[in-house]
């Protein structure tokens, strides 16, 4: 996929269809099992919320979905292809169609521009990269349209030349979101992206999530805030005891859960 194409890219998977599927995942650390027989599907053009108690393994799941690590057992498939059963090159290509935003912004110690353009930069050939670096040094840097649009989506198009270190926590997280959006991934994974943010920045991020969905991106958002799930998610998956115990349209899951454990969890959490 060329990087110079218009922002609303042609997606190979139409909205509503599965794009990222995790099947029968088992994964653990230091002998402790975290995921045990977990199945999950992310659909294109849809927002899936993943809720569950702290420490249940949401981050682990997202790391596996983001192809950071190989699951001990089970498969992760992007558009039907098991990514761990292919070559390194193909897996890299698959990984590059997925974006992850963490709870912490994790911005580079550089300008906003360099942060947000990073994803696009590393996808260029080395010759192009060197050429662009020389242009930047000579003051002739240009910025691609998608980068501007990504920043506009989070309301920070004016911050292009600002130092990342000078941003507030909320602004930084918004830039992190723009960073992932700028190279137009097909799947966007968000691990508690607004836990540390004030309501205003939270709202900006949630708007950006909706914008991503509108572009046909499949979004998975792990959150402990069930209200957030209600606000943005089309479907919600409840993770308990290392597996997904219930998954379905958000409203139904919250109002008429099919699983007792779900009801207990929601009742318990909603106290707060």
């Amino acid at each position: 996929m060329s990087l110079e194409e218009p922002v609303v890219a042609h997606r190979s998977t139409p909205s509503g269809e599965p794009i990222l599927e995790a099947a029968d995942l088992y994964h653990g650390f230091d002998g402790e099992a975290v995921l045990e027989g977990l199945d999950l599907t992310v659909n294109a053009g849809e927002v899936l919320a993943i809720i569950g108690p702290s420490g249940v393994g949401k981050s682990t799941l997202l790391r596996l979905l983001g192809l950071f690590e190989r699951p001990d057992r089970g498969s992760i498939a992007l558009e039907g292809t098991d990514v761990w059963a292919t070559t390194d090159r193909k897996r890299l290509a698959s990984r590059r169609r997925v974006g992850t935003v963490f709870q912490a912004a994790n911005l580079f110690d550089a300008s906003v521009r360099r942060n947000v353009t990073y994803g696009r930069r590393i996808r260029r050939s080395w010759r192009d990269r060197v050429r662009h670096e020389i242009d930047a040094l000579l003051g002739r840097a240009t910025v691609d349209e998608p980068v501007i649009q990504a920043l506009e989506t989070v309301g920070l198009a004016d911050a292009l030349e600002q130092d990342a270190a000078s941003l507030s926590g909320g602004e930084a997280q918004r830039v992190a979101f723009a960073r992932a959006l700028a190279y137009d991934p097909d799947v966007l994974l968000l691990d508690e992206p607004t836990s540390d943010l004030d309501p205003r920045n939270t709202a900006v991020i949630e708007d950006a999530v909706r914008a991503a969905r509108a572009r046909g991106i499949g979004v998975a958002i792990a959150t402990h805030d069930m209200h957030q799930a209600e606000r943005v998610a089309d479907r919600t998956a409840v993770m308990l005891g290392g597996a997904v115990t219930e998954i379905g349209p958000t409203e139904r899951v919250f109002e008429s859960p099919r699983d007792d454990r779900t009801r207990q969890f929601i009742d318990g959490e909603l106290v707060y």
């Binding site: 912490a104 580079f108 990073y118």
Partner: protein, 240 residues
């Protein structure tokens, strides 16, 4: 170009040397130390990255070796390199005894542990989250390594400057492997500022030795200043 301006000042101080002589020993000092530090950095950065970000048996031992290496006595290193490049040694056929190349070798050995050790600390302090972010955006291992280096650039610059300081100010190893050779017309072949200072001190000309010492200090300050300027001049984080 700066080296042309400096001769104006010595005339005020009754400099006991011909400018040609001082310029040639400055040149040898800089050539040897800068090349040694450059080569050493090329070697040390990947090593620091490897050691810093892999888990392997013996990692603690390697770290201990690096830290011990920072304190290697320069004379000992000089002797070891001399044994190696001497006619009797394994590299004897390359005719490296009493050459600047051998001096570069010994200063490489002296600077590498310093640069590796300090870089190791610097890259180790780069947050894992930032590395994850680079990876998450589709970076290869090389991309993530480059990001790490750029995030740790101030620590790495400190490491390089520390290595340079160690190299340019040492006298033990370059004296032994270089031989402190200067031609009759005052052109230095293997004479550095430090070995020239040693020569003056040996002859009891302490004030002259101190003068050369001041020149050496000024040179180190200059190099440090240039590098710091380069670092801050590129504004926010420089090249990534």
């Amino acid at each position: 170009m700066i080296l042309e301006i400096v001769p104006l000042t010595p005339s005020l101080l009754e400099f006991p040397f011909e400018w040609h002589y001082v310029r040639s020993i400055i040149y040898v000092s800089l050539y040897v130390s800068l090349v040694a530090v450059a080569l050493s950095t090329l070697f040390s950065l990947p090593v620091a990255m490897l050691v810093g970000f892999s888990e392997f048996r013996g990692k603690q031992l390697v770290t201990a070796v690096i830290n011990t290496g920072m304190g290697l006595p320069s004379v000992v290193v000089g002797l070891a390199v001399l044994f190696t490049v001497s006619n009797q040694g394994p590299l004897g056929s390359f005719d490296l005894v009493f050459t600047t190349e051998a001096m570069i070798m010994s200063q490489f050995v002296l600077a590498a542990p310093v640069i590796t050790g300090v870089s190791l600390a610097a890259v180790g302090s780069v947050e894992g989250g930032v590395r994850d972010a680079a990876y998450a955006m589709g970076g290869t291992r090389l991309d993530v390594a480059l990001v790490t280096i750029k995030e740790a650039r101030y620590g790495i610059a400190t490491a390089v400057l520390a290595g340079f300081g160690r190299a340019i100010s040492e006298v033990g190893s370059v004296l032994i492997v270089g031989g402190n050779i200067a031609g009759p017309d005052g052109t230095s072949k293997t004479r550095t500022l430090t070995t020239a200072i040693q020569l003056e001190a040996r002859q009891g000309r302490f004030e002259t030795a101190m003068l050369l010492g001041a020149v050496l200090l000024a040179l180190v300050l200059l190099v440090n200043g240039i590098l710091v300027r380069l670092g801050s001049g590129s504004g926010t984080g420089g090249v990534r």
